[in-house]
Each structure stands twice: as C-alpha cells, then as structure tokens.
Amino acid sequence: MKTNRYLLSILVDDEPGVLSRIAGLFSGRGFNIDSLSVASTAEPNVSRITMVTKCEPQIIEQIKKQLHKLINVITVNDLTDKKYVQRQLALIKVNAQPDKKAEILRIVDIFRCRIVDVGLFHYIIEVSGDTEKHDAIVSLLKPMGIIEIASTGAIALARENGKY
C-alpha cells in the first residue's frame, strides 16, 4: 500500500498528560509519528501540536478520528491538502577547515541561513525552512563533515484567514 506524508495541526487543552495521551494512542494502535512539535498558542490553556505522520490514506482517517476522540483534543486539522506555511528549525554544527570555510559561507548565503556560532574549526548554522530545504542543505554540507544536528519538528499554519 502507498503511504503518504500527512501534516496535522492539533489544538489541545494545555494540561499535564495530554502529550502522553496522544503518544500512547499512536503507540497503542501502531500508528507512527515522523515529527512532533508542541507549544502554547495565543489562547490561554490551549496548545498546538503539529504532527507529521506517514501512513496509508485509510489509516489517516482513523488517526484523525481517534485523535478527535481524546477528550483533551479540541480540533484536528489536516493541512496536507490545504495551502499552508511550514517551517522547521535546525542547528547544524559543521566542520569548518580553513580550505572549506568559503564554500560553507557560500552555501549559507545561497540558502539564506545564518551562522550563529563560530569556532576555530566549526560553524553552527541556523536553518529555517521546509523539509526540502533542510534535506538540501544537509546534503550539501555533508561533504564538509557534519558534526551534529539538532532539529525541531515541523510547525505549520494554514494560509487562509481564520483559525484552524
């Protein structure tokens, strides 16, 4: 069966245990989570969970319904087929030998990233963008020697004027 990538934006009560309920639902029913990011919203006591999951089309229906069934879940919005802005933040620590520095700076410039830490033999690069941009810069920096990466999950908002 063909699996697709789905992007869900979930509003939940900001209460202890909510994340555990959602994680437990996924592990208990054998769904998988690709990435997850959680933070508070402009509304008091409401958090937004942005989740990326890969599964078959009929499974995503179950996932959405099961999520919605959790008492602390307020709305489940599938942004996959909507117009949305998606960002993911990563910090990439890359080997910066003197002969490679210029090349790294060129890549950083092309991708409109920033260098946020400089050492004698390393840079830390801050990248913000969608998944494709991340994959692209990582593949270009790989030959220089990536030391480590810290990355957030995807976050997203629908482009329409309204709350989702």
């Binding site: 245990g17 309920r21 179950q62």
Partner: protein, 563 residues
C-alpha cells in the same frame, strides 16, 4: 457550607442518582470510608477483591441502565481495577472508578502504595483525572459522570490524593458541564437516513445486525419495530443479545464465530445490512474480505472511530442508534412504507431452509449431562426472564446460544475483553440493581475460580445470586481449540484438580448442590433457584463437549464447522 473532600465526593455521587457503590478500603481512602460510615443514602458493598468491585459496578450499570461506581485504595487497590476497567472500556459500559492516591506532596516519590494509575489506565479509560486541588473536586466528579454516560459510554477514573479528600473547603455547586473539545453527535444526518429508507424499500435480502450500542442507547423497541414493519430478519453480536426478542420468528440468532448457521449464511448472502451499534469485531466478521460480500452496508454508530475501522461501509451514519432508528421509522411512515410484511418471501424462506439444514443442536445423552441441556432447562425454569451473567469461554457461548433473550439488559457478559471471573461479581452488581429479578451466573469450573472470593460478598450482603457451574474439568474453550487445531495436545487445560464446589459453597455460608445425571438436571435447577440466598449448582457435564457451530479463526463466516 464547609465540607471535606471526602464529603464532597459522597455528595456528588449521590447527586448523580447512584444509590450503591462497590469498593474496598485502604490507607489512602480511609477518610472517604470514615465519611461513608457517617452518612445515609449511599450504600457501600464491601467486595473481597478490587477487580470484583469494578465488575460488580459493571453489572450494576448494565442492569440498571445507569453509571456504576467503584471505590478502591491506592497502589495495589488501583492496579487490581485495571482488568475491570479494560473490560468496561471494550464493552462501552459507563463506570466511574475512584482510586485513592498518596498525598499530593508525595506523588512521584515512590511512596508506599503509590502507583501512577492515571498513566496505567490512560489507554483503557474513556478519560481519567488526577485531582490536584480540592476546589476542582466537585466539578471533576460531575464531569467524570457526564463523560462516562454520554456519547459512546465508557469507564472514567478519578484519582484522589489523600490530602485532597481530607481538606475542608467551602462547597460550591459545580455549574453545567460544557466541553469545547467533546461534543458527541446524537442527531444523525437526515440525508443519510433517507438513503437508508430507499435501500430498505428496494432490498431483496436485507438483514439487521444489532450490537451493544442498541442496548446502550435503549433502542430495542425502535429496532424491533423497524424489523417488523419492514419484515427484516435480525441478528446480533454477543453484546447485542436481547436487543431483539429471541423468540420472534424474524430472529436469526447470534452471528459470528459461534453464531447460528442461518445468521452467518444470511450475512454471507444479504444485499443490505443495517448495522446498528456494532464495531465489527473479528469474532463477528471472520475473514473480512468474505464478510457480507454482496451487501450495501449501513452503519449507525455514535462513535465515528467505529466506522470504516474494520469494514468499509457504504452508508455511514454517525449518531445515537435510538434517534437514527426512530427517524428511519418516521421516514418510512411518511413515505407509506408502513407495511412491507408481504415483501421478501423468497429471502425468508431461504433463511428457513438454512435453519432446517443446520439448526442449533447437540446430541442428547441419558448417561452424561450435556451443558447445552442445562442452559435449555435454565431457560425453561426461569421463563427466559432471568438476568444471565457469564464467565468467559464455552459457558458464555452456550448461554448466548441456548438462553433466548427476549429483553435488553438481561445478558451481561464481558464481550470485548473476555474476562474470566467476570460473571460472579457482575451478577452481584446486577442483583443489587434489580433485587426483584432472578440473577444467574453461568460459569465454568475454570472461570468461577478466578473471582470465587466474591461468594463471601454475596453471602455477607445477602445478595441472592445463583451460580450454575458447568463443570467439565477442563478449560473447555481452549481444550476445544487444542482438539481441533493442535492435535489434541491438551497443554495445561486439564482441571481435574478442583475444589469440591458443594463444600466450597458451604464454607462460604452459601448453599451447594451437585448434579451428575441428566434426569436430575431439572430437579436440581428448580431446587437451587427456589432456595433462598446464594446458591452454587454444580453440573458435572460431558468432558469433551464442544461449542458448535464454529468458524475457525480467520475463516469466512459462511464456512462453519457444524458438528
């Protein structure tokens, strides 16, 4: 008015119309028990094991069509409730389980009798709470009851730290419950219902498939009415037994793994299936790809996750079964489909052929008692009016097959989880809810031993339950599978070493009767049912009798082993 947390708890339980709770005390709930002793109006039944408390609350909830309540202490008291909670969760039974917890300040410190019961029960409750401030206690209790009984019902757990129940606070009546994140859909979509009416009028081979949801939404009357006015035969899952009268000519019997041949064949050949309050469990469907292959399936369920989960349906209807069936009847009347009794004679005669080809049957014997015969006699002697609880296994299937339930809320069984040891405590709960009804636990010799300690509860609290043990000295259902699919290697299913159940009954202060010959069955049953108080009736039955018909696991439900 200043009240302690414990007093608020009792006040709020009473406000929900609950008159009896089932529980077991301990250190963390000692204040609640102190408050219980100093009040009137809320009765407490002391069980002998916390699992029993939850099953009893389950039996009470089902017989009483209300919410059942259990109260236990922290740690082991709480973990002992898990099986009961999981069973109620599978069967969508409204329960509120109160567990004690160590004082707030000690939570997370691995204190004595501390366990994260909210974490443990997250996947097997509808919702659960840890109460962290006494000001919120009344509101949480009200919300817990609301969640337990509304939408698709289920168990809700409320964890009560000891300091919360001890604290004195000004009591404030909680307001109305309104949750922005929880709004069950009761009212079905009318467009979808119109399609159903159209399908019913055109169908040549329709079947109604009723599940536990019909009983939970108290929709048997509507279901029966629809079946009769549209002349549609009815089958039911284990959980749906009693939703349609078992003595009606349109009744097909239960479907599924141990369903009747005619019910399964009807499913295999129908062109329209109206499934109400069912979730298409694997014990019902068998091989999914061969389940009702030629049918347009209508599924009515209040829980959207039940729809398209196991079976693709063509007409999904999210809503309350009662509301949906009522509206379908109304629409049919409007369109003058009032009388379809003349319709589908061919379909009904085909079903009669299936029935005569392979009726539910067993071979009678004059030497050894057949378990099916015991249930048949029990049915006769109680006029089919008793509340029957069961354990799990062969006893459960024979009760389902041979006690032809005419009314809802009369068959109380652990359907989804299949808990051995469910029947006795559930019978206690059912009897407390319906003291004027005859309540009988149909048990096996294996499963009755799983919560036998509740015999003391029944005797102590003078709860008049009757227990029929079908003793084959085997774990019969597993033995049956071993016989059929594991070359008769009876690994760990021999139960020849059992207690003397008559002496056991007497040791607990109950009455014990034993029956070894077929010609004594009626007499022993009549005597046991007539005897005041708790009675065990032990029937020494054919050791290797199996439950038939049977669909091997994963097979098509139309391919049955008949004998």
């Amino acid at each position: 008015m200043k009240l302690t947390g414990a007093q608020i708890l009792i006040k709020m339980i009473k406000a929900e119309g609950v008159d009896t709770i089932f529980g077991y005390p301990g250190g963390a709930v000692i204040d609640i028990y102190d408050a219980l002793a100093k009040q009137v109006g809320l009765k407490h039944i002391l069980v002998r094991h916390e699992q029993g408390a939850v099953h009893a609350a389950d039996g009470y909830a089902r017989a009483n069509k209300s919410v059942g309540v259990a109260l236990v202490t922290s740690g082991p008291g709480a973990t002992n409730t898990v099986t009961g909670i999981a069973s109620a969760h599978c069967d969508s039974i409204p329960l509120v389980v109160f567990t004690g917890q160590v004082p707030t300040g000690l939570i997370g410190n691995d204190a004595f009798q501390e366990v994260d019961i909210v974490g443990i029960t997250r996947p097997c409750t509808k919702h659960n709470y840890l109460v962290k401030s006494v000001e919120k206690l009344a509101f949480i209790i009200k919300e817990a009851f609301y969640l337990a009984r509304s939408g698709r019902p289920g168990p809700v757990l409320v964890d009560l730290p000891k300091d919360i129940v001890q604290t004195l606070v000004e009591f404030e009546e909680p307001g109305e419950i309104s949750l922005k994140s929880y709004k069950p859909t009761y009212k079905p979509n009318k467009k979808q219902l119109n399609k159903v009416v159209d399908l019913i009028s055109k169908a040549e081979r329709p079947v109604i498939f009723a599940g536990g949801g019909v009983i939970l939404s108290q929709a048997s009357e509507e279901l029966t009415r629809l079946a009769k006015m549209a002349n549609i035969p009815v089958t039911a899952s284990l959980m749906g037994l009693g939703a349609f009268p078992g003595s009606d000519p349109l009744w097909l019997g239960m479907l599924g793994m141990h369903g009747t041949y005619r019910a399964n064949m009807s499913i295999g050949h129908c062109d329209l299936m109206i499934a109400a309050g069912v979730r298409f469990d694997d014990r019902v469907t068998g091989n999914i790809s061969k389940f009702a292959p030629g049918a347009t399936i209508v599924q009515i369920d209040i829980d959207p996750t039940s729809i398209h989960k196991n079976i693709e349906v063509q007409i999904p209807i999210v809503g309350d079964c009662k509301a949906a069936l009522k509206e379908i009847i109304h629409l049919m009347e409007e369109k003058n489909f009032r009388d379809l009794t003349e319709k589908r004679p061919e379909w009904l005669s085909r079903i009669r052929e299936w029935e005569s080809a392979a009726p539910l049957k067993y071979e009678q014997s004059y030497d050894v008692i057949k378990p099916q015969y015991v249930i048949e006699k029990l049915y006769e002697l109680t006029d089919g009016k008793a509340i029957i609880t069961t354990e799990v296994g062969q006893n459960q299937m024979w009760a389902a097959q041979y006690y032809h339930f005419d009314e809802p809320n009369h068959f109380i069984t652990s359907g989804g989880l299949g808990v051995m040891g469910f029947g006795l405590p559930a019978a206690i709960g059912a009897k407390v809810a319906c003291p004027d009804k005859m309540v009988v636990d149909v048990a096996g010799d294996g499963s009755i031993q799983m919560n036998i300690q509740e015999l003391m509860t029944a005797v102590e609290s003078k709860i008049d339950v009757k227990i029929v043990i079908l003793n084959n000295r085997y774990l019969g259902m597993v033995r049956q599978w071993q016989e059929l699919f594991y070359d008769k290697v009876y690994s760990s299913t021999n139960m020849e070493n059992a207690p003397d159940f008559v002496k056991l009954a007497e040791a607990y202060g109950a009455t014990g009767l034993r029956c070894t010959k077929p010609d004594q069955v009626s007499r022993v049953l009549a005597k046991g049912l007539d005897t005041q108080g708790t009675v065990i009736m032990e029937f020494i039955v054919d050791r290797e009798e199996s439950v038939y018909p049977m669909v091997p696991a994963g097979g098509s439900i139309t391919e049955m082993l008949l004998v």
